[in-house]
């Protein structure tokens, strides 16, 4: 503390008495002494211990603190603020559907409600405790007592201040002596420590406050100004990660591409697709007219084809393939230029070889995109099987039916 002195106004000699300090070796003795001082009716006195001593509140006659009410109020404030904050941001200021939940979904808000309740209550408990105890106290006459340093170590102290209305040097001294303290000491007023706050500390706080405002000022500015510059990257290496994305430039390679071709003359594992009938739908440049040998039409394959058709094809082609899916209906209504999806029951499509249908699914046609990257080869053939079944359902010849089926028609 002596380093912080700015001036030494007066000498410590003949400073008036601040209080009487009694030292005890055990918490038990301190509690007994406290009861005596309490019963004698003193009000301006305190005890100092290295650790919390159970029962000292009662021995000192300290009333229940009002702090819990403050904490409760703060907790309810935090709770209400959390509810309001989330309601306003989610349902009013920026309504946004998340996972199909309502704009204001209370279950999702509960963690924040809990956190803010605890945060407000915790900070209030700590700050309230400090303020109600008159802390922080930068200087105190007891700081000058060498003996008192052991209050943070292994000794227990009781201080009766001279400004207590019942304080009388003689009678107070004899009261404390009756409690058999290990030592009894006069504590003089502090005449050496300046009461002024050091100027360095004041300027330091001003600078710190100014600096702390800067980020908020930047946020405020960013909300009202339009700029062509890129925004501030608070966490730069998260916004622009050191990695190469697909379809982007990469100067490391001579061709400048970040996506690499396989090394010439090599095939990746499982990528050898040398069966043209299965993978391309054609043999020697001509569309195959029958299913490749690896694909065996069966009831399971038909079910699979129906399911995949339902997932990938019905949005445009419709449930029965007439080209009246939801996407088509919507696009036609918008009338912004739309090549309608084909009706798969048209003559020319019915006559297309299966290989050509496979090619259409794989690479797309007109405005239909390529589905090769999305649908595995097996599933593409399954879809074709189902498409053939759909087509047949509209255009079967009487001659293709069995006698029994013909019987059922009647």
């Amino acid at each position: 503390m002596s380093e912080m002195h700015h001036k030494k106004p007066e000498s410590q000699e003949d400073a008036p008495l601040f209080g009487l300090l009694a030292e005890y070796s055990t918490p038990g003795e301190l509690i007994l002494a406290s009861r005596k001082v309490r019963d004698a009716g003193y009000t301006r006195w305190d005890t100092f211990t290295p650790f919390p001593v159970h029962g000292i509140d009662n021995a000192m006659g300290i009333k229940m603190t009002r702090l819990p009410w403050l904490v409760l109020g703060a907790a309810l404030t935090g709770l209400s603020l959390a509810v309001w904050l989330q309601w306003w941001t989610n349902a009013v200021d920026y309504p946004w559907i998340i996972s199909g939940k309502p704009f204001w979904s209370v279950p999702a808000n509960v963690p924040i409600m809990f956190e803010l309740t605890v945060l407000f209550a915790g900070i209030t408990a700590m700050v309230g405790m400090l303020v109600m105890n008159g802390l922080p106290q930068p200087a105190h006459p007891l700081d000058l007592s060498r003996r008192f340093a052991r209050a943070t170590d292994d000794k227990f102290f009781l201080l009766v201040e001279a400004r207590d209305p019942r304080f009388d040097e003689q009678s107070t001294r004899s009261l404390l002596e009756k409690s058999h303290p290990a030592a009894l000491e006069d504590v003089p007023e502090d005449r050496t420590t300046s009461a002024q706050i050091p100027t360095g500390l004041i300027y330091g706080l001003i600078v710190l406050t100014a600096v702390a405002v800067v980020p908020f000022a930047l946020f405020a500015k960013a909300r009202v100004t339009k700029s062509r510059n890129t925004r501030i990257h608070a966490i730069a290496d998260m916004d622009s990660q050191p990695k190469f994305k697909a379809q982007r430039e990469n100067l490391v390679f001579a061709d400048g591409r970040s996506m690499r071709e396989p090394v010439a003359g090599t095939v990746a594992q499982g990528q050898l697709r040398d069966d043209d009938a299965l993978y391309l739908g054609k043999v020697n440049g001509a569309w195959v007219r029958t299913f490749p040998s690896q694909v065996t039409p069966s009831a399971e394959l038909m079910d699979r084809g129906e399911q995949r058709f339902g997932i990938y094809c019905t949005p445009c082609h419709g449930q029965s393939g007439e080209g009246n899916g939801m996407v088509h209906l919507r696009a036609s209504k918008l009338g912004q230029g739309w090549v309608p999806p084909s009706n798969i029951h048209q003559q020319y499509i019915r006559e297309q070889p299966v290989g050509q249908l496979f090619n259409t699914i794989t690479h797309g046609i007109r405005s239909m995109p390529a589905y090769g990257p999305q649908i595995p080869v097996e599933d593409r053939w399954a879809i074709i099987l189902y498409v053939r079944a759909l087509q047949k359902s509209r255009a079967a010849n009487l001659g293709e039916l069995t006698a029994e089926q013909r019987q059922n028609l009647k």
């Binding site: 159970h54 029962g55 009662n58 819990p68 199909g100 279950p107 999702a108 963690p111």
Partner: protein, 422 residues
Amino acid sequence: MADSNSRNKKSKSQHPAKGSAHGTSAWGDVIRNSSDTHRLFVFAGGIGGVALLLSVALGMGDFKRFQYSYLVAFMWTLSISLGGLWWVTLQHLVNAKWSIVVRRVGELIAANIGLMAILSLPIVVPAILGNSELYLWVDSHRMLEDHALHHKSAYLNVTFFAIRVVVYFGFWFLLSQHFLKSSLKQDGESADTQTVRLRRLAGPAMMGVALTLTFAAVDFLMSLNPMWFSTIFGVYYLAGCVLAIHASLALTLLWLQKRGALVKTVSQEHFHDIGKMMFAFTIFWAYIAFSQFMLIWYANIPEETHWYLVRAENGWLKVTWFQLIGHFMLPFAFLLSRHMKRNRTALALAALWVLFVHYVDMYWLVMPTAFVEGPELHILDLTCWVALTGIFVAAVAYRARGVNLVAVGDPRLETSLAFENV
């Protein structure tokens, strides 16, 4: 038990804290009460026995309903015992001093786990014999046919279930007996040998309790709906167990004090601590219950949400709301103030309420499996609860006859007697 009693009498002369023949301790308190505990044993045992016979008679007519009602009451009483075992282990683990004067009562309650093993037979035996009315997974054909379930049949099958039940109850029985016997043995000693030994045991024991309790909750409760799963479920049941034991401790001690025992031993400070634990675990229960709910609600995956959907529709929605208000908000607000925890009447009311809502919680976990439309109260719910509670209380009272109700040999006893909260 007789062994430790004779040791008590022998050591009386050498050790002043051990008390006189009338069960009076060195600090002038009644620490034994054979006559009242005996009366309680006869009374509770009689009522429990009659209710059990009644339940069996009613259960003959509707065995499925009997099994469901019985399971609710069984899991409720089991949670008191298991909570006791967890609590005693915890006191040793953390070297708790405040609880020394209360610990013996906890040990006596925890030692009921052997009885719970016998009382589990109406649940376990029908499952082993192939009755799948309660546990669907007992029907192995059904499990294998269901695509979502056949992977689980490696765990959910009758043989493995039987093995697990034996392991759970075996472990709990041995541990609870060991805690009680060592503690009784210490009554006649003046050394801290048992204290040190039990503290060393408490660490591994706690891991064992945590694992067995988790898996038991999964087996007895979660597997009612074998499709559903929640990894936090064991902790959820534990939260209920901890609430149940503290409520039971409070009520037992208040009853003992009304009968003139432990009046100078267990003070307002100890009741305050029990109240604090009840308050803390009210919040803990809500925290866990909500954690389970929120993740399932947010992810919205059908195999998880259906469990909550049943409880959010028809008659069960009211019970679910009651869980939020009755199991969390009311006891939270009621126990928030320290004055309530230090007031015996208020604490007794809170303890009774906590035990009631804990029963509702067990009901809410079990019953929607079979009664999708809403709670259908049945006379068997009442008779099964009276039967198990009566037998449970009788067994604790029987065990409490003729033993010290305080661990007089514990070296930390003096600290505990002088304990103050502030």
